[in-house]
Symmetry: C2
Subunit: 432 residues, 2 copies
């Protein structure tokens, strides 16, 4: 007999089903056992009379197999339940679970550190685990939209010989006799692949930042959603692409994650037909004038939150492209502004106060790029592997990177970006 999933049981009212899953909740009322079975698609109430549990194997979080009749009952959740004809414990529990899976996240109340230490078990909680259905659909939307726009999906090496930005915050790897590093970003490789003739490439991959700070916004290993596109006329092509991408991603979430969005009481944000753009210098002026905050040509997390609130009030947009960052705050490949070489054709995308994207146009001229590298006190010879393709008709190009965990976290109003990573790696944690 074929297995029926919890979400499909209602289609079998009056019939028989075979269910498999975990004991989400167990209530014994005299001779009557109520078992809420949970599988990957949801829960369903079942009941059995006079079950012999003398060996004690039927417990919450044990996995079970049920054969039963689907019957209507006004008292049951959704008006139906399953009368068990046969119940088999497939695999029992060997210990009392350190987390009570069937409570709401608020009721569990456990510290995040404890939840993370027992991560596989805590993910069984529908709210905690539901984060990753949202995340998976965000990632699916990212790739699917870009595929429709002619992007090739690539996978670039994470073991690299040199850092993207000159050697700081790199994790070292002993690679046989050679010293290697974990890639901080696929930046060099995605640019090289634009130049390899693919023109438009995207990647969903891990990136590594050996940063010491342990904040609610940082992970040392995270999933970066990258794209890079060639033959652009200006950097607005990149922001326009992201605007359409976000619209596609959110429209898909509404369709595919209704259950999870409801658990989190979330409505997906509206992406305006044109996301507001604001120069960093303009943001500085507004912060000074309206909030008495002096940013000195840069912006900090608090400034980002204030400016996002300001833009939300003025335009209704949850998103803001902050543009024209100073050359000195951007990497050596950032394309200088035509009318002010102290600034770059670069941008961040802020979403409800948090930076979720960094991007911009890149220098494509070989001589300009080597000179920019030299200007940073770096040696172009160290970047030969990256620079070679720039000798052969490298087209104007640019792109961006979206932090998958940050976007998920911000969308669901999670307090800590770790909640959007299956097994977060931070300053202290490499297990589980």
């Amino acid at each position: 007999m074929e297995r029926t999933l919890a979400k499909d049981v209602k289609e079998h009212i009056g019939g028989q089903v075979l269910l498999k899953g975990w004991v989400h909740a167990l209530r014994v009322m005299g001779k009557l056992n109520f078992i809420v079975l949970r599988d990957r698609t949801g829960t369903v109430q079942t009941k059995i009379k006079g079950y012999d549990n003398s060996d004690g194997s039927l417990k919450e979080e044990a996995s079970i197999k049920i054969l039963g009749a689907v019957v209507t009952d006004e008292r049951a959740p959704n008006g139906f339940e399953v009368d068990i004809e046969k119940l088999e414990v497939i695999s029992t529990t060997f210990d009392t679970p350190p987390i009570q899976v069937n409570r709401s996240r608020e009721q569990i109340g456990t510290r995040l550190e404890t939840l993370l230490s027992h991560r596989p078990l805590s993910l069984r909680n529908p709210e905690i685990g539901g984060v990753f259905k949202i995340r998976a659909e965000i990632i699916w939307g990212f790739r699917e939209f870009l595929k429709s726009q002619g992007f090739l999906e690539v996978q670039t090496p994470k073991i690299v010989a040199a850092g993207t930005e000159g050697g700081t915050a790199l994790f070292a790897v002993q690679y046989f006799e050679q010293k290697a590093y974990l890639a901080q970003s696929p930046q060099f490789y995605k640019q090289m692949l634009v130049g390899s003739g693919y023109e438009r490439v995207c990647e969903v991959g891990a990136v590594y930042r050996a940063e010491e700070h342990n904040t609610t916004r940082h992970l040392n290993e995270y999933i970066s959603l990258d794209y890079e596109m060639g033959f652009i006329e200006d950097f607005h092509e990149i922001t326009t692409m992201e605007t359409e991408l976000l619209r596609f991603i959110f429209a898909n979430l509404e369709k595919s994650c209704a259950r999870e969005l409801e658990l989190y009481k979330i409505e997906v944000p509206k992406v305006p037909s044109e996301i507001p753009h604001m120069k960093l210098s303009e943001a500085g002026d507004i912060l000074k004038k309206n909030f008495k905050k002096n940013m000195n040509g840069d912006i900090d997390p608090e400034g980002e939150q204030l400016i996002c609130k300001y833009v939300k009030e003025k335009t209704g947009s949850d998103f803001l492209f902050m543009t024209h960052y100073p050359t000195e705050n951007r990497p050596m490949y950032a394309f200088p502004c035509e009318d002010d070489p102290k600034l770059t054709n670069s941008f961040d995308l802020l979403f409800r106060g948090l930076e979720i994207t960094s991007g911009g146009q890149r220098i494509h001229d070989y001589e300009q790029l080597t000179s920019s590298i030299r200007g940073r006190g770096l040696n172009p010879a160290d970047f030969d592997f990256y620079l070679e393709i720039f000798k052969y008709g490298m087209p104007p190009h640019g792109g961006l990177a979206i932090g998958a965990e940050r976007l998920t976290c911000q969308l669901l109003n999670l307090a800590n970006v770790r909640e959007a990573s299956f097994f977060p790696r931070d300053r202290n944690r490499i297990v589980p």
Copy 2:
């Protein structure tokens, strides 16, 4: 004016197009310049009379922009070409390319090592670069099919505290004060996530093998296509799923990669409705009887090739599930055979003589798993992070891993698996 891609020019015969791309070939015949323009979708012939190239910037592999009229001409390839009205060199070349991009792969004739050293440039060659359109579509098919079967796509950590198989062939990472390693496989994590209630998970991710051997079949960093499924009745559910997966992948390739398959003169293999299964011991008997080859309960690459040829002749199948590997050759989590505990419910998938998949059923019982770990001389306490979820109703489960580069390589008859990796990492190479 909107850009037209090379593949779409034929739809504009009689009209005007804006093209962008690289100079694939340049022939000067008196005052007439023939330029074959190449973009990410293919090539198109264009021509211009009396172009002033006195600065020499118009060269093969420069990137250009063309405005022109699409006209029919019997002498042109496909019967049409573009009469250039305006030609702009966007970005010229600064050097003579070390590889002649517009030749056939055979004509280029350069050693693979040299091609890899100039990888971004050599990928511009349509044959060399076309490998990755095939690879991308294989990966797309993998995810798309599994999504339709209820699998959640996951990304698990690549920085880990312990190896999957007891500490050999691991790359060490200095993780702040802690010693960590690069993951050899997502094995532990995908099992844990099955137990986390997702039941069915898949991952496309890098894996790392610090193996010293430098063969045409090995990479030290490669892309593993993994899935793991819970609540199975036996390990045939895993091989059936792979059979349907392969059918889906190849059907998609035929639709989406016609141009690349033609370049490689490849027909995608037929996946039989049931791929033949053969026990390893049976293969040993056949090798002994028919090929005078004594395998002593194991099989080597030559044996795999011979047995695949044998099966191809007998059944017509390019694929073979080799099953029931001995316990001593499989990891500690391999599920023992019901009728012979010296064997396991495990399999490899051989494709035209090469192993492209390894998989099997896993032990799900907590006590059986800890005892198996002890039996290998390992300490269960070192695997606490993995074992915890097995205490809480872990369902019967199993899965497999497909090497993305090996599958691509074998499908296209490439001589070396490195040709199916954008930037291969091997015993000596970490650049480009």
